[in-house]
Amino acid sequence: MTFVINSVLSFKNRNFKKVLSLLAAATLIVLTGCGGSDSPAPDMVVEPPPPAPVIYRYEISVTNLTHAQPMSPIAVVLHNEGQLWQLGQPASNALEMLAESGDNSGVLAESMVLAGQSGMGVLMSGMEETITVSIENTMPMMLSVATMLVNTNDAFSGINAMGLTNMEVGEIISMQTSSYDSGTEKNTELMSTIPGPAGGGEGFNEMRDDVDFVTMHSGIVSQDDGLTQSVLTSAHRFDNPTLMITVTRME
């Protein structure tokens, strides 16, 4: 945008009136370019242009591979330290909230997050969504992704602290992910405890009545396979993997 104004100013001596109208046009362009920020005074434009920010941008494409387990809005985060979960360790409160209710706001607000992005909404079985996340001037070292299988008590799937340091622009990494149990809610499969459409029950509850450490998930039992109290049917059963995720570094 500074370039536009500089070139406009170079016309100044030739035709003052013309310059004025061009300046007005330039201001308009600037306004559009800045998305509504303060319009710069013309005397500020003699400042040298700031160095262009270095942008690191990644596209994360996620496909739901399950038969009938909608995925809660997907959380995508860039970070340089920490992990969203650790096997054998208690889930963080943010992860518990995501795994029990599908609410990803806590995960996106974790202090380690440099840049985070949520998916548009629930990702139904067989559907694919591409989420873009970017950051300026700081090369992110790790990518994590998390989403809840909503017709469960506290199952989630995703990527935990995948290294990005050696990933080059244009490079594509594809993987299939398994499902984890946050260990914060017993897998009762009761209607009152399944927040997804199969149950319509409670999501997050801060009480932890299960083993209180993260493991791989053992799958849904369902009423069709011997858990009489379950609101789930054979349709909600799943096996690993549950997601296909393709990460592309765009710039």
Partner: protein
Amino acid sequence: MKITNLIAGFALASSSMVINAQQVEVTVTNLTQGIHYTPFLISAHSADMSLYKLGQAASAELQMMAEGGDITGLSALLTNASADIIENPAGGLLAPAMSTTAMLDTSDGNTHLSLVSMLLPTNDAFVGLNAWEIPTEAGTYTFTLNAYDAGTEANDEMITGGGAPGAAGIPVAPGGDGGADGTGVTSQELNATVHIHRGSLGDDDISGGKSDLNNTVHRWLNPVARITVIVM
């Protein structure tokens, strides 16, 4: 001629030095929420050896391990074959989400890594890494392992204390979360070869039903273990 032989000899010596006396750190993590592992047997052995073959009947020694967690048979087989062995690095059962680490100094020619342990409570399920070629390049290698069925015992899912080869039933549910008085899921083993385990069924009746296993606790999905190998 002599010089050529010397050079060839030297090349041979240096290439064998690459594969001899490796130091390997092996870490196994139990990825399940409700399964315990019996004492692990970790070994480095020659390329022509394996503890089992998928699609083939289990050896009597593998059966001992898979049905009762007894690794003495496989351990003796490996010792006779000059393998390097670590027994029971966890000092007992490996509980859900726990890890155990062992250092293995491999002898010349013991280029392949194997690891086995029984899943409890099951009739004859085991986790296995079978004759994985140890990389010669130093580094950290991480991968996951699946659960196999030894194919030697019917998966009746009855907790009877039966751990001896050929004895029906499950030895024990270490979590203290097993049931009793089930009628038995099946009395037959229809696949008598080593194969991917179909998983336990379980039921929701602690004192009856078909199974003595709890269907919300004792099931699993693959993978069931993670192994990290650090080649020094």
